[in-house]
Every structure is written in structure tokens, then in C-alpha cells.
Amino acid sequence: MSARVLVGVKRVIDYAVKIRVKPDNSGVVTDGVKHSMNPFCEIAVEEAVKLKEKKLIKEVVVVSCGPQQVQETIRTALAMGADRGIHVEVSGKDSDTLGPLQVSKILAALAKKEDARLVILGKQAIDDDCNQTGQMTAALLDWPQGTFASEVVLEGDKLKVVREVDGGLETVRLRMPAVVTADLRLNTPRYATLPNIMKAKKKKIDVVKPSDLGVDLTSRLEVLRVDEPPQRQAGVKVETVEDLLSKLKEAGRI
């Protein structure tokens, strides 16, 4: 198949890191903090590379929006087997306010520009938990969408997607081109092996600006304040049922 797949990846604070709120409550501390690829984006890259290995698609193009550092994230995807990367340069104030609406506009423009048959994204990012980019991208392109995918099967020009929904599993069939967002159980991302890491160094990463794609980055959202969740109060151990009853009475619960 001569299809091209576009995979979006986001550089986020590593999920094992303890998040600290900035003293001025304007956001979280990102300086000097370990960043890595969003785990759901890894799953998306893995799925795309798997499709390429099965020879169902021809090329995997990986995209990321943000400052210079996102190129590391793109390199990781290249080391996993993507063919080339696109870095949409967004820096400074714009990168702080970059949200799903702007990213989906960028991805829609790129999908058209690159003539992609399939856009695969992670279902949500672990820093904002928005779960909106995939859906918005599909709407802007007027393409069908298969979100929370736990299984993706290419059947000719149609796509069968098994979705994880509240009630269980829902299977949908989509006409291509389509947008898919990856959920946890879709696959287990591979380790990038050394030979691939070396090869990835030579793969191309194009740098484009949002203005080249005709996208306006102004945000309609303003973050007023960021706070830590309230500290969990320690529990109290009681020795007898009488103690329990008296404590509950004291607390006005009974």
C-alpha cells in the first residue's frame, strides 16, 4: 500500500517525576525536570511502525509541536522505526499556551499537506489529560474517528477499530482516511535498539512554522491559577468500637 501515516507525539514531563507547582502558582516547574514522550504517543508510534512492518502502509511521518527540545522526542520515535520527522516550531509564550485546538489545526493542515491516509495519536497527554486533540483533528478534516483504540485492523480501504468504552468494547468500521487515538492496551511499545538509534541520527527532521501552515496560535484559554491538590489528612486509628463511636460523634457524623 502506498499510504502514509502521520503520528503526533508530545513531549511531556516524565510520568515517574514528582510534579512541583511553581511558587507563583502560574504553572508547574519544568526547568531541569525529566521530560519524555507521552506514553500514549509511544503506543501510537508503535502501532504505526507495526503497520509499516506488515507492509500495510508505506511511510511513517512523526510530528511534534513545541520548542527545540521536542526534536529529542521526534528522534526517539525515529529510533522506534518512524521514517522522518516534522518539527513544528513553537517557542516562548506560544508554547506555554499551546493547546489541543491549535495542535489539531496544525495536524489537520499537515495531514492534508502530507497527503496522509491515517492519523494516529495518543488518546490524551498525561500533563493536561485533555483527550481532545484527536477528536478535534478529525472534525477539522471531516474524517471519521476511532478513539480509545485497543485494536486496529486495516481491511483494504476500511479500518476496523475496537474501542474501549465505559460499557465494554465497541467495534466500529471507518472509511479511510481516518483519525485513530491509541489507548493503553493497543500494544506494548518496543525498546529502541542501538542500531536503530544510530540509524535515527541520520533520518530527516524538517522544521516548519505554524504560520507556514496558515495556523493562528492565539489561545482562547487563560490559565488563572495552578494549585496542588489538598494534602490528604492522616487517618486516626482507634482501639475499640466505643472509641470509634465517640470519634464519629465528635466529628458530628452521627
Binding site: 529502541a192 542500531p195 538509534i197
Partner: protein, 539 residues
């Protein structure tokens, strides 16, 4: 259990003469001895079977095979009496334990290879309580087995007979931490992982790290001079422990706790207690120098086609990574197969005869990654390494480390494990594994080698379907003789404990062992501290 302890008490009330106690305690299933007993006592003691079961857990074959060639006799210590129990209950209310179910856990080692028959577990909370306990036990000639996390691998942490178990589990307070110097002072019962977690909040780490970190206690680590995964970078406990508080056999509290990096005033007594395995004194508090938490940790998992290439990779690593190298571990393909089979872990790279885990730790991510990447490019280009992967994210780093750290766990699922912890010159390390494989042939299920190759330390493990005396006879003393031939150590970091005490002469000259006995006699003349361990029998 209740039936057994009842049998025991009944026998106590029978009060057999001393000579009969000798017969009882050899616990030989030899028919002639047992035949003689009824006639000597007139009638067969009702609880004899129960007694044999209670004592007989140290079956003849167990004892001779696991504990070297010598047959083990219970030394003539006193036995715990009602008065003793009363004393301890007054001293440690609620912390004097005789419940057989609780004791069962503390009587068996982590490997489930040796079992004692202690009936008393004490849980002091302070050094003063430990001092009073030992003073009393010394006067009463009661044997004591100090116990920390009970994760030792040489049977040194559990009683052999009915020694009183002195557990440090409740002595788990951190006493002080100096954020500038990085010196932490804590009680001996602090679990290593808890100390690490505490230190990480303050941007420091413990200088040692081992697979047992979730259970092992720092007092036990110091008493066994534990090595672990970070020794290559931060050195051994002999360098990082700055001070100790030890209670001696007669109850004297020896306060050698200090927060000083340098102190050359007289003989360095703490070095005697580090690695003494609880036989010279009970460690009650430790002060340790901790390194700063590295900002950037990278782990590389590499595959090598031969041991020779592995050694050359190590040399290259030393040269190119230099000061940022913090661990260099290896495992062989037999280990990988066990991990895949029993723990369902996936090999992150292609199959190779040898796997290396390299960790770098430094203060500057960019600097470290650059060094690591040029090292990796070099070893790939020169074909020293056939495949590999790198991780910088915490989750992936942990995943790669678990491949090395969980080999011990995988082995427990493969049957009965015979563990050997050997130090050898680097170039001879794998030869021992290969020679052992050839020597054992089909007798063993698996013969695997892994370990801290950067420190010259091999963990040789052999598995069989179940405990097999023939297999053991083939392994020992062959493994020790082989080690002695290459002037290695028969116990690099696990210590001697119960299982290896009689092999000390393979690595130490007789004059040294004699001097060790003199020191033991001076510090513990009634030999109540952790008897039957560390020093050879008939000393």
C-alpha cells in the same frame, strides 16, 4: 505446632540428664540411638515424635550438606525458662513474642533453606533495651541471634537451634540528617528502601543498593558489609560508614557514632564490627555518608557474543565513561531464559550469549548522554557489542534494571537453588561457570552466572528439581577448590553465615582464622552472639 511445643514442654518436665540431651540434640535418625532411648528412660516419652519433628527440621542430611562437613551439635547454652520469659516481658511489654506462628516466619531464612527452632523473639526499640537484653543473656548464658530483615543468603540470619531472636525491626527511627554533609544517622532497623525514599526527598541517595532493599535493614547491611549494585561507584560500606553504635555481648554500649569524615584517633574499632555478621556485637545505630542524587541516570542494556568481548567492553567503558559510570553488571543467556520462562519478562534486545547492564549517573544530562552515545557508537562500530538499547526515563530505567535484579527471583521458581558468591580475577569469572556446567553434566537443571562483573564478583547459581545431596557433593568442594586455585574469595559479599563457615580456610590462612577466634573470645567469651556462624567449628 501446638502439639509440637506441648511435646517439648513435656520433655522438659521429664528433665533428662545432660548426656541424654546430647543424644537428643544430635537428632540423628540413626536407629540405634533411638532404640536405646526408651530403655534409658523406662518409657517412650509421649512427645518424642513431636520433639523429633520440632528438632528434626535440621535433618541429618540438611545439616551436613548445607552446613559443611561438620555435624552440628547444640552448644551447652542455657534454655529459656519461665523466669527468663518474665524478665523479658517486664523489659519489653508486648514485644516479647512466643507465638509459634510468628516465630515460624523468623526461624526460616529468605531462601527457605534452613530453619531454626527458636521459641522467643524479642523486639527492642532502643539501644538501652538491647543493652539490658544482652547483659541478661550474658549472665544467663543464653544464646542470641540478632536479626534484621532476614534476607541473608548464607543462613546467618536465623537461629540454628533455640537461640533467642533479637529483632531490630522496631528500631527504625532516623535520628538525624545533615543536608550539607549528607551524613545520615539512623537506628539499625531502618529498611534500606525507606532510607532511600527519605533521602531522595532531600536530593541524596544511599551509597548502596541491592535487590533486597525492600526488606533488608541497614544494621544487617553493615553487619554483613553488603556490596550491591552501586559498589563500583560509591565504594563499600567500609568507606561510607562513618560511625556505629554497637552493644557488646555483655551489654556494654559502645558509642562510636560520629558525623566526621576524618577521624584518626586510635584503632578504627567500627571496622571490626562491619562484616562481623552479628558475632562480635549487635549494631544498634549507624551513621553513613550519602552521595548526592544524580540528576541524570542512563541505563544501557547491551548484548555481547563472548565473555572476552564483554571484558573489552568493560575496558572501553571505563575509559570512555570514566567518572559517570555507576554500575556494570552482567547476566548470561541462561539467566535471560529463566526470566522469560518464569517471570514472563521480555528480552529488550536480540538473543545474545551475554548481556551487560551499564548505568551512568551524573549531574549534567547533556554531558552524560554525549559521553554515553559516543561510547555506544564506539562499541557498536568495533563489534564488541552486537545489540543494545538505552533508557533515560525513570520507568524504562527501572524496567531495564529489573532484568538484572529479578534473576534471583526467577531462580527460586526453577527449583532448589544452590547459590555461590565468588570473587575472582576478571578474566577467570566465566570460566568457573563453564567448568561447573561441564563438571555437573545432567545432574543440574540449570547452571547460570550473573553478577557485579565490574567488581570481579560472580553469582554462580545452580538449580535442581529438588534438594539433591549427590548434586551438592559434586558442587562442593569443587567450587571452593576451583576458587582457591585462582586465589579468589569463596564469599565475595554474602558472608559466611552458617553455610560457609567451614570453608573459610579456602580463602584465609590459618593464622588469620586463629586471630579471628582470639578477637571473638575477647569480645564474646561465652560465645552467645550468633553462635554456629561465621567462624569455623571446633574453634
Amino acid at each position: 505446632m501446638l502439639r509440637e511445643s506441648m511435646g517439648l514442654n513435656r520433655l522438659r518436665r521429664l528433665g533428662p540428664p545432660a548426656t541424654l540431651w546430647r543424644l537428643f540434640s544430635t537428632c540423628s535418625p540413626s536407629v540405634t540411638v533411638l532404640d536405646r532411648l526408651p530403655s534409658a528412660l523406662g518409657t517412650l516419652p509421649p512427645g518424642l515424635e513431636a520433639f523429633r519433628q520440632a528438632r528434626g527440621i535440621h535433618r541429618w542430611s540438611d545439616r551436613t550438606n548445607q552446613t559443611g562437613s561438620a555435624e552440628l551439635h547444640r552448644l551447652p547454652f542455657s534454655r529459656v525458662s519461665e523466669q527468663d520469659l518474665t524478665f523479658f516481658e517486664n523489659l519489653l511489654p508486648g514485644r516479647t513474642i512466643t507465638d509459634p506462628d510468628v516465630l515460624m516466619v523468623h526461624n526460616v531464612d529468605w531462601m527457605k533453606s534452613v530453619r531454626g527452632s527458636s521459641e522467643l523473639l524479642l523486639r527492642p526499640q532502643t539501644t538501652e533495651e538491647v543493652s539490658k537484653i544482652l547483659k541478661y543473656c550474658c549472665e544467663r548464658r543464653l544464646a542470641v541471634n540478632p536479626q534484621g530483615g532476614n534476607t541473608g543468603l548464607v543462613g546467618g540470619s536465623v537461629p540454628v537451634f533455640d537461640e533467642i531472636i533479637l529483632s531490630t525491626s522496631l528500631m527504625n527511627r532516623i535520628l538525624s540528617f545533615d543536608k550539607v554533609s549528607g551524613i545520615i544517622t539512623c537506628q539499625a532497623g531502618c529498611v534500606l528502601e525507606n532510607l532511600s525514599t527519605y533521602l531522595e526527598e532531600h536530593d541524596f541517595i544511599m551509597p548502596l543498593d541491592l535487590g533486597a532493599k525492600g526488606s533488608c535493614q541497614i544494621g544487617g547491611n553493615v553487619a554483613t558489609n553488603a556490596g550491591g549494585l552501586r559498589l563500583l561507584r560509591y565504594g563499600s560500606l567500609r568507606g561510607t560508614v562513618l560511625g556505629l553504635e554497637v552493644v557488646l555481648a555483655n551489654g556494654t554500649i559502645l558509642n562510636l557514632l560520629t558525623n566526621l569524615r576524618k577521624d584518626n584517633t586510635g584503632y578504627d574499632l567500627k571496622q571490626l564490627f562491619i562484616g562481623s555478621e552479628g558475632t562480635l556485637g549487635v549494631i544498634t545505630a549507624v551513621s553513613i555518608l550519602c552521595p548526592r542524587k544524580p540528576r541524570a541516570v542512563n541505563v544501557a542494556f547491551l548484548g555481547c557474543s563472548s565473555y572476552r568481548k564483554l571484558l573489552e567492553t568493560f575496558q572501553c567503558c571505563r575509559g570512555m565513561l570514566g567518572e559517570i559510570l555507576s554500575a556494570f553488571e552482567f547476566l548470561d543467556s541462561a539467566c535471560m531464559k529463566l526470566l522469560e520462562k518464569h517471570l514472563k519478562l521480555t528480552n529488550p534486545i536480540a538473543e545474545n550469549p551475554f548481556y551487560i547492564v551499564i548505568e551512568t549517573a551524573g549531574s549534567n544530562a547533556t554531558h552524560d548522554e554525549e559521553k554515553l552515545h559516543s561510547f555506544l557508537a564506539e562499541v557498536m562500530a568495533s563489534c564488541l557489542v552486537t545489540d543494545g538499547t538505552v533508557a533515560t526515563e525513570d520507568a524504562k530505567v527501572k524496567a531495564l534494571w529489573s532484568i538484572r535484579e529479578r534473576v534471583t527471583e526467577a531462580l527460586t521458581h526453577d527449583g532448589y537453588t544452590y547459590k555461590y558468591d565468588i570473587s575472582l580475577p576478571l578474566e577467570n569469572i566465566y570460566q568457573l561457570v563453564e567448568d561447573m556446567r561441564e563438571h555437573l553434566g545432567n545432574k543440574a537443571t540449570n547452571v547460570v552466572g550473573y553478577g557485579h562483573v565490574g567488581d570481579g564478583n560472580l553469582h554462580l547459581n545452580i538449580t535442581s528439581h529438588s534438594k539433591d545431596p549427590d548434586l551438592l557433593a559434586a558442587i562442593e568442594p569443587y567450587v571452593y577448590e576451583w576458587t582457591a586455585r585462582y586465589r579468589g574469595s569463596i564469599s565475595a559479599e554474602h558472608g559466611l553465615g552458617l553455610k560457609k563457615r567451614n570453608y573459610i580456610h579456602f580463602s584465609k590462612p590459618p593464622g588469620a582464622v586463629a586471630l579471628m577466634n582470639d578477637i571473638k573470645h575477647m569480645l564474646d567469651p561465652y560465645r552467645i552472639l550468633n553462635p554456629y556462624k561465621t567462624l569455623p567449628d571446633h574453634s
